[in-house]
Symmetry: C2
DNA sequence: GCAAAAGTGTTGAGATTACACCCATGC
DNA sequence: GCATGGGTGTAATCTCAACACTTTTGC
């Protein structure tokens, strides 16, 4: 029994996935999602969090079970059943570390992934679907943003994930009406009119029609 | 590694779950969802289908992965990670068989389940949530109905699962406009005006706003 | 003063809800 | 003929989508 962790983030208007380079075994040399065997005295979720802390240097982020992959031939040597977990992080909070176990680590655009080890391309597909579908009825997007952010930045998260432009005025109206964010006393400055910064009223997961 | 199967059906305006009575081990005497260890040369889904055929006597029905429960203390003797599967059957197609493994088998209203073995009350909760949420954006309700049915019977499925009454005229309009069902040449007779029978145009799972 | 992004309301179309009467059959 | 569920349309409300100009800053 193993866990794999799909860590996604957004940077530069692209969804990125965290991959590690496999060092040993039949998949050596290929990129894969970080993961490993579950210890006997460890819950599945704890194993996923451990993996996340070791490789991405992040704790206390959005993490949920994605799907359990249990086909008999997914690993050519041993029978491995693997629970995939799905995590979202604000890009600037991550600190990648290879550790001794892998030959490399890095961020890859999910739209242009290489051929991955095992059945991990399928895992990637599943996680993208999950991200898209949860976006519209939960506040999951919050997990990809820093503590404070502008409405334009929030809208960008939605546009990148849904892969289509959204109307600026309608978006602003919608998210303000939902009452999930509140303005703070500072502004984002740049070579243009400063933008109001907001924070989330609550970091709890919420289910409600968003878009 | 084990699988558990939550089989739900509707009968008499109630959602029923299929439970078996555990014969041996620390949970002996308690009711639980049917399940068992996954064979080495068997995928998770195949194991779930095998369980379903053995206990409920049904094959070729709606079945999907629900959640994998992997807490360390869910079974007091051995560490068992269990992938729960979720199945829906038309009540009249089932033929219950205990088999040698269990001390009993039966249908129980999900709203009034006894205290189940292991963490199965939690499994039951999760499956009910899944049923409710999928109802509104997929054609999952079809899986609970026989080959042909009246619109009133379809509406009853929705009302029982959502636990609220729906407007008869609006429901009829909605499902006919969706174009997923078509009338056939016969009617359901009774001590009142006969009702038009319908069949599904396709039994494939469909994702679209339903209600 | 100009470039660049922020901020702001209204209107029309389509969808959703609420609601009441007649119809066809079995007994 | 009466009890039972089947079948049908419309109006009012709400939601969603489309759309353009003014404001504030940095340079």
């Amino acid at each position: 029994m193993a866990v794999d962790v799909v860590v996604l983030t957004i940077e530069n208007r692209e969804i990125l996935a965290l991959l590690v380079k496999v060092k040993t075994g039949p998949a050596a040399g290929r990129w894969a999602f970080p993961g490993g065997l579950v210890a006997l005295q460890e819950s599945l979720e704890a194993a996923a969090r451990r993996e996340l802390a070791e490789k991405a240097g992040v704790a206390d982020i959005f993490l949920e079970q994605l799907f359990t992959f249990g086909d008999i031939d997914r690993n050519p040597i041993h029978r491995v059943v693997s629970a995939a977990y799905f995590a979202l992080v604000p890009h600037e909070r991550t600190h990648l570390r290879t550790g001794a176990k892998y030959a490399g680590i890095g961020w890859f655009p999910v739209k242009r992934l290489p051929r991955l080890a095992y059945d991990h391309n399928r895992v990637a597909e599943t996680s993208l679907q999950r991200l898209r579908s949860k976006l519209s009825y939960t506040n999951i997007a919050w997990s990809l943003l820093p503590e404070s952010f502008t409405i334009a930045e929030l809208q960008e998260v939605y546009e990148v994930i849904l892969d289509r432009p959204l109307d600026r005025r309608n978006f602003r109206k919608k998210v303000l009406d939902l009452g999930l964010i509140k303005p703070i006393a500072s502004k984002r400055r740049g070579p243009h009119r400063p933008a109001q910064l907001y924070v989330f009223r609550s970091r709890e997961p919420i289910i409600s029609e968003i878009l």
